[in-house]
């Protein structure tokens, strides 16, 4: 599509150049506008009355006049494609005045008079010709893209209802309403896709959950264990889909203030049992005071838990997982550092994509391959980031950053701390 746009721009340039060359050559050679030339010449004589009256100014030959006019006329194409309409109009106006001065300067300094009417008229027309051409191509492009989009949607069996009543109006208005309709249609499609996903995931989860309960009734043997693993994995996948679509669709206007320190503490508490089973040491260094952010509690808790679970999952027994949180005036940083096998350099950026695992051979491992994708989506929705740093064989560090809530915080001050405040200021009073 970009190539198409740039090709179109090139065509527009060539078209405008040709039009300007023809116009300037025509105007300067035909002598239609000799009146303009005379007016400017007289203006010059008036300005430089004494010099002009007692010296001879030579008229340059017709081919030179045409060549100069053409050159001066196509110069605006250097800036027209780059500037906004308003700026190009202003620059063109300044250029027009500059050209008159150049012609004057030629007459005064070199005693040569180039008839400027051809160039001036072409410069005046340069802006409208270029804009007209651009608008036409843009509309053409828009029409074509819109038609393609509608064809594609129709091919998918999702035709739009035809708009009514706007066809006969202003063509620009018509196009705008078509774009709006298509955009709305796409939003609806996105929502219905997400709704379908939620519906499917939910309906898949329910029977799997029931099957898990039924498994409890059987005596444990290697078959029930295997079945439990498979059902658990399917359940986790349905859950992963559901959560990922929830993160994608979350309404940022419903975000609430929450304390990331206690949220992280809760996530650490949640993985405690699993860490204990692997004899991992979970060391946390969290700030004592709350750090407020604006967000969705459920999503952020799950995001932090996913990063922690990931660290715990890939950690060898009896190793250490560190959880550190720091903050500055604008944002907080949460680091989760493990001593696991690490992530190969070429995979480190891919792990946040859908259906990726740190190690491709671990397909049988539980998890949906959506855990870190979910983390990434959630953090982006919260205007935060998540990155992984790792060297193979030397553990991995996951770094989450989140912007802090800017509203002034009115923490309830403890009695003990309240007592300290006057003491702190006593020196200065």
């Amino acid at each position: 599509m970009n190539m198409f746009v740039s090709a179109m721009r090139l065509n527009d340039k060539i078209f405008t150049t040709i039009v300007l060359i023809l116009l300037s050559a025509l105007f300067s050679s035909s002598g239609v506008f000799t009146g303009v030339d005379r007016l400017i010449y007289e203006g010059m004589q008036w300005l430089h009355y004494e010099e002009a009256s007692d010296s001879v100014v030579r008229l340059v030959s017709l081919p030179v006049t045409i060549a100069t006019s053409v050159l001066l006329a196509i110069l605006p194409l250097l800036w027209l494609p780059k500037l906004t309409p308003c700026k190009s109009l202003m620059v063109n106006f300044l250029y027009l005045i500059a050209v008159i001065f150049i012609v004057y300067a030629g007459a005064v300094l070199f005693r040569l008079w180039v008839r400027p009417s051809g160039a001036l008229l072409a410069i005046l027309l340069a802006y409208p010709v270029w804009r007209w051409r651009r608008l036409d191509s843009a509309q053409l492009f828009l029409d074509r893209e819109l038609q393609n989009l509608r064809d594609e949607l129709a091919a998918l069996g999702m035709e739009q209802e035809e708009e009514v009543g706007v066809v006969n109006e202003d063509p620009l208005q018509y196009r705008i309403s078509r774009v709006q309709l298509t955009a709305k249609h796409l939003r609806d499609l996105h929502k219905s896709r997400s709704d379908t996903l939620t519906f499917i995931s939910h309906d898949i989860r329910a029977p799997l959950g029931a099957a898990m309960l039924l498994l409890d009734k059987f005596e444990n043997n290697k078959y029930t264990e295997r079945m439990e693993r498979m059902i658990t994995r399917a359940h986790a996948m349905a859950e992963g889909f559901l959560q990922a679509s929830r993160a994608e669709m979350v309404n940022v206007n419903k975000f609430q203030e929450l304390d990331m320190v206690s949220l992280t503490q809760q996530a650490v508490d949640d993985v405690y049992e699993i860490a204990l089973a692997k004899q991992l040491q979970l060391s946390t260094q969290l700030p004592e005071d709350p750090l407020w952010v604006r967000g969705d509690f459920g999503l952020l808790l799950r995001a932090v838990s996913n990063v922690l679970l990931n660290a715990v999952k890939y950690s060898p027994d009896q190793s250490e997982v560190k959880v550190l949180m720091t903050s500055d005036a604008q944002s907080l940083t949460l680091k989760v550092i493990d001593q696991g096998p690490g992530i190969p350099a070429k995979k480190v950026t891919k792990i946040f994509k859908r259906f990726s695992r740190a190690d491709g051979e671990h397909q049988a491992q539980e998890g949906s391959g959506l855990g870190l994708y979910f983390v990434n989506v959630t953090l982006r929705k919260h205007r935060g980031t998540v990155v992984a740093q790792s060297e193979e064989g030397r553990g991995a560090t996951f770094i989450i950053t989140l912007p802090l809530e800017r509203r002034k915080i009115n923490n309830p001050v403890d009695n003990e701390r309240r007592a300290l405040i006057p003491a702190m200021f006593s020196d200065s009073i």
Binding site: H202, R205, A206, L208, G209, A210, M212, L213, L214, D216, K217, L242, R246, Q256, E257, L258, D259, V261, S262, L263, Q265, Q266, D269, Y272, E273, E288, P290, W292, D296, F297, G298, I409, N410, N411, P412, D414, N415, E416
Partner: protein, 228 residues
């Protein structure tokens, strides 16, 4: 103790009945909301367990109908198939005392059932001293000790701690905590509860290493429970 179970999924209901009966509860099972509403005026229950999605009506509607016919209700636990925040908030706003997300584990369901029944039994009594492992709360001198060492708590923190321990395992909504501990609190001060809970967690070391878990339920409520 008698429990009414309203659940249309028979396989699920069968398992839950088995768990409850093994714990010596008497269970009446209903499959539809209308069945339950027809029978319930003639019977006395200590606890309701409702499924959210029933074939003929939604769990909360059943609850509203029950409330219209009787002014004294036993605690209600909702089974919900969805674990998203919006659903949990709806459950709590509907006036449920607690919820269990399907598929529930036996331990989870029994913990919720027992916590609610215990709460009903011990509602109005305040004892002079409560002991929870290494933690000791003296309600007369308002002193808390952790492994023999005194922990300095503010008045509100002490009230909050006492309320949490008296309602161990029970889901306490934030609004409820605000009313009980602070009296009326404006909506603007919702951070107050979060900050106090967070202080309690760090001062009393309510972490899994010490056998405790203090959880925020989507910031709508809190639950202090023993780490199993």
């Amino acid at each position: 103790m008698k429990i009414a179970l309203l659940e249309d999924d028979l396989a699920f209901a069968e398992t839950v009945i088995e768990w409850l009966e093994e714990a010596h509860f008497e269970v009446d099972h209903f499959e539809t909301g209308l069945d339950f509403l027809k029978e319930f005026p003639n019977l006395q229950y200590d606890l309701f367990i409702f499924d959210w999605a029933l074939p003929d009506m939604e769990g909360p509607d059943v609850m509203v109908s029950v409330r219209l016919r009787s002014n004294k209700l036993p605690p209600i636990i909702f089974f919900t198939g969805r674990s998203e925040e919006d659903d949990i908030v709806r459950v709590m706003e509907a006036g449920a005392d607690d919820y269990v997300v399907k598929p529930a584990s036996r331990a989870m369901l029994m913990a919720r059932v027992n916590a609610l029944l215990r709460r009903v039994a011990s509602q109005s009594q305040v004892e002079a001293c409560y002991e929870y492992g290494a933690l000791k709360l003296d309600t007369r001198s308002r002193v808390v000790t952790l492994a023999g060492e005194e922990v300095k708590l503010t008045d509100k923190e002490f009230d909050l701690a006492l309320y949490f321990f008296k309602n161990e395992g029970v889901l306490l909504s934030r609004t409820h905590l605000m009313n009980v501990v602070w009296g009326a609190v404006s909506e603007l001060e919702t951070r107050k509860v979060d900050v106090h809970v967070s202080h309690l967690r760090s001062k009393l070391k309510l972490v899994p290493e010490n056998g405790w878990k203090l959880t925020s339920i989507y910031q709508q409520g809190y639950r202090l429970e023993r780490n199993r």
